[in-house]
Symmetry: C2
Subunit: 268 residues, 2 copies
């Protein structure tokens, strides 16, 4: 099967012009089918401040009210998406900017939570793979903003990690998919304070062991709590047919793909 890279780029990279540009140069150089998924870094929060729109957080999660949805749609699907595509074009990578609403690619429904109303947040129902496949066959790199829709005319804000995972899973029937989460850290760290403590390989068994609370006599080294949802998602992706998940530093994209940097998560 043809290789397909689905690469999520973390927010901190979006916020740093030089790092973003260097990342996009590496992305442009990948000689395979490829999909990039991005969010908007701190740009949406900054624009909300400028516009005097108050950001509501519940349990540390942003509530997407109507004004916030407008802002994230503008920033993610407009400003960030089109600037990334323009830069990729300048690096001779023919890219097309998309969101989940375009071509009905990602259908979602408004999150229905028993306690918290997250507002216009979408949970993914399905991915329209034939259109993605066709676009990839035209040698286009696909660049996704994390906006979906409910087919009733409502746009929905969706977590970019989730978008990357859902696309990777859906494309696994027809491609050998590697899912890469690239961000500011060097990989999954044994000690969150130590960038050299990267766990190079992780499988389900040693993940379960690492998740166990350290015994009082232990050295206290365990996986940073913030990584747990990303890793749970990674293993769920493997279960659904993704061949490999790699987590590592965006600046090392070429090395992540070569398997010489970051954490590689595989079955078995």
């Amino acid at each position: 099967m043809t290789n397909l890279y689905v690469i999520k780029i973390g927010g901190n990279i979006i916020d740093d012009e030089a790092k973003l540009s260097s990342f996009l140069k590496s992305f442009a150089a990948i000689d395979s089918k490829k999909i990039l998924v991005h969010g908007g870094g701190k740009l949406a929060t900054k624009l909300a401040e400028k516009m005097g729109v108050e950001q509501k957080l519940v349990d540390g999660r942003r509530i997407t009210d109507a004004e916030t949805l407008k802002i994230v749609t503008m920033v993610y699907a407009g400003y960030v998406n089109k600037n990334i595509v323009a830069q990729l074009q300048s690096f001779e990578c023919n890219a097309i900017g998309l969101s989940g609403v375009d071509g009905d690619i990602i259908l979602a429904h408004k999150r229905n939570h028993p306690v918290i109303d997250y507002g216009y947040v979408g949970d993914v129902d399905s991915v329209n793979t034939p259109l993605l496949k066709n676009l990839l066959e035209q040698n286009l790199a696909l660049v996704f903003a994390p906006i979906t829709h409910d087919q009733g005319g409502q746009l929905l804000n969706t977590n970019a990690d989730t978008i990357a995972q859902e696309i990777a899973k859906a494309m696994s029937d027809e491609f050998n998919v590697e899912l890469i989460y690239s961000f500011e850290k060097s990989g999954v760290l044994l000690d969150v304070e130590d960038e050299t403590s990267v766990i190079q390989k992780l499988n389900w068994e040693n993940y379960q062991n690492l998740k166990k609370p350290s015994p009082p006599s232990g050295d206290g080294s365990k996986i940073f709590a913030g990584m747990i949802p990303k890793l749970d998602n990674a293993f769920a992706a493997l279960k659904s047919g993704v061949s490999k998940v790699i987590i590592g530093k965006a600046e090392n994209l070429s090395a992540l793909i070569a398997g010489t940097s970051g954490t590689t998560i595989e079955n078995g």
Copy 2:
């Protein structure tokens, strides 16, 4: 040849939620290949005000400085484009939102004017028709935001009428193209104050006669000066292979297509 409708929707319709929705319902019902080109109405100006970005006008034309480019990219390619696509999806019209940068569809260069620096304004160089054709063949309606790029990583703001005209011209080699300018007026009016004075048919010869200043003894009826650039563009499009240009009220889209409303401009 297969019919293709290239339809520009005027700013005043974008600003009116009910009118926009009714227009999109009619657009969704068109049983042919179709492309919609939109701008952003007053939304960009309103956002600029909210953000405290001063709008510079020279000779009534907006200067696109860096901040304004950011705003129009967010509003046109983000908010307006994705909301139009989401609404079309809800009307069972599978649409894809695009700008000129996506798939390298519209290449432009920064306007080089001897006197006025228009800022980040793009004049169109070329249109990538194979990708447009491929997307149309997948039964997608294409929805264009008027943002182009220079292949050097720079986004450019481009007049939406021009985008519609350039796409219509470029697609004429492979399709029987009708170009429709839909806006708030009923068509080209003999008397700008009288909505019933629509000129139903216009060819080059009678356009030249109507453009002549009325003699002192005349009744003063002549084409409104604001329509001249649109009409000059219309005749240029006909010269480049577009089969018909129709100008009329967005609310009457179905009738414009049927040829029972608005002004039809044809060769001969």
